[in-house]
């Protein structure tokens, strides 16, 4: 069989092994050609570095080959279907990349005089405008660096508003199904977290919520659609109750793709919501970042927004950078400079390309795709709730009962079939969760292939072929990796092998 062939180099055709850069460095190599300094003046105050740093020296061809080879070990949206629930792995348009790299943006220094950056401020303002209209909210804080920082921004605005009103409260209500960042954020703002259970329809238990809503509750953090992919039917009632108790409604906007263009969160009664530009608005995930997390705000919270923010001044656009004047009630600054400008450009290009009609269509297609998966898989897998779902569908592992195949095993077998697995074990409210979000970027052919594969895998599991799943994946460059040892004996950096060290002594 071809796949058991042993090669001399260890490479396997197009699958090329690639060591670490530290294992390829040799003195005398250089990947850059820099001019010689014109002088040898030294004003470092005697703090010159003594001794080597230990970085490897490589040439440019080696560098290109290194990163090219390791890139080929990665699966991306460009490679194939990536149905991670709540991550919204939609197509990342290359127009976004081109426009972000225009020299008129890419080479701008954040502290240039205002007269020299009017176009940049105009772009931030335009992006902000689109976000406000799509969400139906009057204000937006653009500076948070990522979704989690956006959550922090929202909760800090709430806290600032309550303190300003002389009514600092101590608790925040968070559904059990919430993503872990929600309670972590509430705790980071100094709040105690109270959990609200779900009802058997997967939504927040309204009565349980009301029972916990008193004058010590600063706010509620709700995701809508929720992490089970379901629209919270009671959301307007919830918003009313929360406001009556003098509290605020924070909405986690991770699932905005389900409703953009067709429903406005502002109409549902929210006070603030973070938006993940890297989810809903197609900015690339980049292997884990960077993201961007602008936060739309109601009138009651707008004044507390972080600095800096863009305003329309006498001579064009201006920045409010300090907690004075228009920024007097701001709760402060969250990060350096103005925020993730590169992501604003990309998101605006995406939004303008779609337009109001295209955004509505994209969102509707996302819902259609998810419901198609649910309909086609509901008799094969075990859906956790009755349909319809919104943009993602949730299954639990009861369909694997008595097969000795876990959700994890099933996911690893999907890898051999050429798919990135769906989200596993989240949300925590069902056992062995499988959360699938196809997005609008997938064709029906892709979905049909996926459905066919999952039906086949389920049949194999039920036919007792547990070993197929326990051994998976078998066709990837690496088999399953030992996460236990990695956590017990963390090795977080390369160190030269003993023999190398001795040789230089």
């Amino acid at each position: 069989m071809a796949d058991t062939l042993k090669t001399i180099t260890g490479n396997r055709g197009l699958r090329l092994e690639e060591p670490l850069i530290f294992e390829q460095g040799r003195p005398g190599r250089l990947g850059v050609d820099l001019a010689t300094p014109a002088n040898t003046a030294n004003r470092l105050g005697g703090n010159d570095r003594k001794g080597p740093i230990g970085l490897p020296d490589l040439s440019e061809p080696q560098t290109v080959r290194h990163y090219t080879r390791i890139s080929q070990k990665n699966y991306g949206i460009d490679s194939g279907f990536y149905p991670l629930g709540s991550c919204t792995m939609k197509h990342n348009p290359r127009l976004n990349e081109k426009l972000a790299r225009l020299p008129g943006f890419a080479s701008l220094h954040p502290l240039q005089p205002m007269s020299t950056v009017q176009g940049a401020l105009e772009l931030i303002d335009a992006c902000a405008h689109w976000l406000k209209v799509i969400t139906g909210m009057p204000a937006v804080a653009m500076s948070p660096a990522a979704g989690a920082q956006g959550e922090l921004c929202g909760m800090m605005a709430i806290r600032a508003a309550l303190v300003d009103r002389g009514d600092a409260r101590k608790r925040v209500l968070v559904p059990e199904s919430a993503h872990g960042t929600n309670p972590a954020t509430a705790a980071a703002c100094g709040y105690a977290v109270d959990s609200i259970p779900a009802n058997d329809r997967g939504r927040v238990d309204f009565d349980a919520l009301i029972a916990k809503l008193d004058s010590d509750v600063a706010g509620i953090m709700l995701t809508n659609p929720n992490t089970c992919g379901l629209f919270e039917n009671d959301i307007i009632r919830i918003a009313d109750a929360v406001h009556e108790a003098g509290a605020f409604f924070y909405c986690d906007g991770a699932n905005l793709n389900a409703i953009m263009g067709n429903v406005r969160p502002g109409d549902l009664g929210i006070d603030c919501m973070h938006i993940n530009l890297h989810k809903t608005f197609s900015t690339p995930h980049g292997g884990g970042g960077p993201g961007a997390g602008p936060v739309v705000l109601s009138e009651s919270l707008a004044a507390y927004a972080p600095v800096p923010f863009v305003v329309h001044g006498e001579n064009g656009f201006d920045l409010v950078e300090h907690q004075q004047g228009a920024g007097e009630k701001s709760f402060g600054r969250l990060k350096g400079f103005q925020g993730q400008m590169g992501m604003f450009i990309r998101a605006l290009a995406y939004m303008m390309s779609h337009g109001s009609d295209g955004l509505a269509q994209a969102s509707a297609d996302a819902i259609l795709n998810a419901n198609y998966l649910l309909a086609e898989l509901k008799d094969t897998l075990s859906p956790s709730f009755d349909g319809p779902c919104m943009h993602e569908c949730l299954f639990d592992d009861s369909f694997l009962k008595d097969t000795d195949v876990s959700t994890l095993d099933f996911a690893k077998a999907m890898i051999d079939e050429g798919f990135h697995p769906m989200t596993m074990y989240f949300p925590l409210v069902v056992h062995g969760a499988l959360l699938m979000e196809p997005t609008e970027s997938e064709s029906k052919e892709t979905l049909d292939q996926y459905i066919h594969a999952l039906k086949g895998l389920t049949a194999m599991a039920k036919a007792g072929e547990a070993d197929h799943f326990h051994q998976a994946p078998r066709l990837t460059p690496w088999r399953r990796l030992d996460e236990t040892t990695a956590a017990r004996n963390p090795i977080l950096r390369w160190t030269p092998p003993e023999s190398d060290v001795q040789a230089t002594d």
């Binding site: 070990k73 980071a188 993201g291």
Partner: protein, 469 residues
Amino acid sequence: MPPNTPTTSLAWNNSKNKVAKTMRYLPLTDDDRRQMLAAIGVEDLKDLYRDVPPDALLSGPVDLPAHQGEIEVERAISAMAAKNLNAAAAPSFLGAGAYRHHVPATVDAMIQRGEFLTAYTPYQPEVSQGTLQYLFEFQTQVALITGMEVANASMYDGATAAAEAVMMAGRVAKRKKAILSGGLHPHYRDATQTIAGFHGMTLDVAPPDWKGEEDLIRSIDDETACVVVQNPGFFGHVRDLTPLADACHAAGALLVVVVTEVVSLGALTAPGDMGADIVAAEGQSIGNALNYGGPTVGLFAVRQKHLRQMPGRVCGQTADIDGKRGFVLTLSTREQHIRREKATSNICTNSGLCALAFNVHMTLLGETGFRQLAALNHAKACTLADKLDAVDEVQVLNDTFFNEFTISLNKPAAGVVDDLAALGILGGVPVSRLYADGGQMENLLLVAATETTTEDDMDALVRSLSEVL
């Protein structure tokens, strides 16, 4: 339309504009949609929205322009770009935490590969060894240049890294007070006050240290969790932090060292070698264009013994079941998705692609190139300082600096910078821009030089200053 045919259009969302059923990012055809609705068993697309309160379902598209092609979008956004004076097209001396360096062409070519660009966080390691390998290399390089034992897989930026460092010091020392140097970048000071302040830390902020003379040792007591100092400082001064580190340790406190210009680490003693316990740095100078300040990449490095208190993502070495070396995200039980309200921080993302860019550039530089780059930056700054010192109305305040220093003018620097901009020169950052109460510093200007600064640029600045001062 024949009866019982599923309605695929957003019929309740009647657009007066011409809605193309085709849009270049949407693969579904109307045929597909019809088949899918039939498979789902609903009559109308609207049936899938039955959980949405009817009044909340919009009856028309929101008030924004309709979809546009690439030509139109490119034209509109390019028009905005054209209104800016970009720092690559003019003599530029701006620093203050963001530096104009040359990013080799290879960097962009690598980070634009779709397998890097469009990959998610590497939670399925078997199909993510590309990301995981570069994160491991990144962590190693960051540890090496900072002289520390271990680093994480990056933070959002230097300012949030500094805030997280203060909170970590609070956890390690089990104390609540942090002393912030007057040489700390004001954005870092502010972000730390906002984030760590909300978290219950008290912050003792020293007055702005443009003379480079502050003595923080006197302020350390047994309630101090950490002292946060920037080196080179915001005003450019370079110091030996060893005595400060010793004083911190003697009092049971930690030393947090901030670096806003990582190229300086190619020429200066590493913070770890001066006794730093935590290094929080901004990595933008390596691999990342200015991008009007974002996105950038924060670096975070600590001592091995404090590893479990370190926030953010971390990548570790392991092996697969065949014994092949590989990498995985590890120590994630500290993170929010598992610990929830007890997490070490609420951070989800690192700065992935920016960390990769840093890595690629660092690989091209290597030991030799990194040191050469640092030497070149310092040499340029020395030349610039000499030329500026020769201008009557200008006084260079620093005895020590790396590639940025403070000059004092004979009038408010903010106005001078505007005048220079009118002449097509980005002359530096007025200190008053970053301090709300900058009164006594209003004549101070921060000036930086890098490997991209030419002799002509410097002469143009000198000429123009002589004109406007």
